[in-house]
């Protein structure tokens, strides 16, 4: 039988990257996300509830999500004036550093669009971008049924498409 300290250590080694992804999806900053990872596992350690937890991943994701939300800076904005046009042309066959730059601009443009979504849709969509996170786990993190998660993801995607279409009709992205 393993001691609780060993359990925490194994959980850290197994799920650190996942917790980081959850935090980064909200904070969009590597240093802040790493701070959230550390704070998340400290809370796990202090709570002592780890031996009683059946599903560790959603539990960890929920803690990290809450810690990250506490650190969100509402005034944090990204200047995306020229980036938007460059980001939408990301499917050209760039290579190397140029391709990397275009991908970053693409993500920045998407982030600017996601920020405009209603909060309930935004949280579901952001968590869905974390790899290996399915609708069931997202529902456990947000405390809503899986069907609601699917509905929110559909609505969020529809709104993003409408915003992109309107933006393209405005003469951008051609």
């Amino acid at each position: 039988m393993r001691t609780p300290a060993t359990d925490v250590e194994s959980v850290v080694r197994e799920h650190t990257r996942f917790v980081f992804k959850v935090a980064y999806s909200i904070l969009r900053n590597v240093e802040d996300a790493e701070d959230v990872v550390q704070e998340t596992f400290l809370r796990v350690h202090r709570s002592g509830e780890l031996p009683n937890v059946r599903e560790v991943r959603p539990w960890l994701a929920r803690i990290a999500w809450r810690v990250a939300l506490d650190r969100v800076n509402p005034r944090q904005e990204i200047a995306l004036g020229p980036l938007m046009e460059a980001g939408f042309q990301a499917h050209a066959k760039e290579t190397g550093a140029e391709q990397l730059l275009v991908q970053q601009e693409q993500v920045a443009l998407l982030h600017r669009l996601i920020v405009t979504l209603p909060e309930e849709l935004r949280h579901a969509l952001v968590l869905s971008t974390v790899e290996e996170m399915n609708s069931v786990e997202i529902g456990k993190v947000l405390g809503i049924p899986e069907a609601s998660v699917r509905t929110r993801l559909f609505r969020a995607r529809q709104m993003l498409k409408e915003k992109l279409a309107a933006w393209m009709e405005g003469g951008h992205g051609s």
Binding site: A5, V8, E9, V12, R13, T16, R17, F20, K21, Y24, S25, V30, A33, E34, V37, Q38, F41, L42, H45, R46, G87, F88, A90, H91, Q103, Q106, V107, L109, L110, H111, I114, L125, V126, S128, T129, V130, E131, R157, L160, K161, L164, A165, M168
Partner: protein, 194 residues
């Protein structure tokens, strides 16, 4: 990308962008940093950190108690009558007659503002400086309640004592109700007739 089908173009762009949205990776060694933080937490638990503040809190409490004590000692205590509290000045008293130097009173003993010293010669009067009437020390502060008075108030509040009835001094009793008859003024017919 098919320029003729903007819907597909948008879908493809969204799929691509969403797949990269949380694509950042933590810096190398984050697991070790987290574990080091956990070990540090075990060595120095959080509940011990706040104990650092215990001496500071105790010091602050002591300072507050000292301030309260100083403040309460500065409160004006019941001032006795100026006649009792005033003492004669330490210097030689004024004498109304010569040759009464041996009648100098002991300055350490309390005396009234106007003390008559028994002397073999003529009467010697020691006059002390009388404080002006507008001085606050002239007006006595209400004396605190005695122990018996406090007990009586407590008993009254607890209902152990009947409420006191107002005492009417003799001579102030209520007078019996007096009936005042209606005043009638008769016409002065008699005067006119006369």
């Amino acid at each position: 990308m098919d320029p003729d089908n903007p819907g597909r173009k948008i879908d493809a762009w969204l799929d691509d962008a969403l797949s990269r949205y949380s694509g950042a990776e933590p810096r190398a060694g984050i697991e070790n940093r987290v574990l080091a933080a956990l070990r540090a937490e075990e060595r120095n638990p959080r509940r011990r950190r706040w104990m650092v503040w215990v001496p500071a809190a105790a010091t602050a409490a002591a300072v507050i108690v000292a301030m309260v004590a100083v403040y309460s000692s500065r409160k004006p205590s019941p001032v006795p009558s100026p006649i009792e509290s005033k003492r004669a000045p330490a210097g030689p008293p004024e004498t109304t007659a010569a040759g009464a130097g041996d009648a100098v009173a002991d300055s350490s003993a309390p005396r009234e503002s106007r003390t008559v010293v028994q002397a073999p010669g003529p009467e010697t009067v020691v006059s002390a400086a009388t404080p002006p009437l507008h001085s606050p020390s002239v007006f006595p502060v209400p004396a605190p309640l005695s122990e018996q008075e406090r007990l009586a108030i407590t008993a009254l509040r607890c209902g152990l004592l009947p409420p006191a009835k107002p005492q009417i001094p003799p001579g102030d009793e209520l007078l019996p109700q007096v009936e005042i008859q209606e005043i009638r003024i008769e016409p002065l017919n008699d005067l006119e007739q006369s």
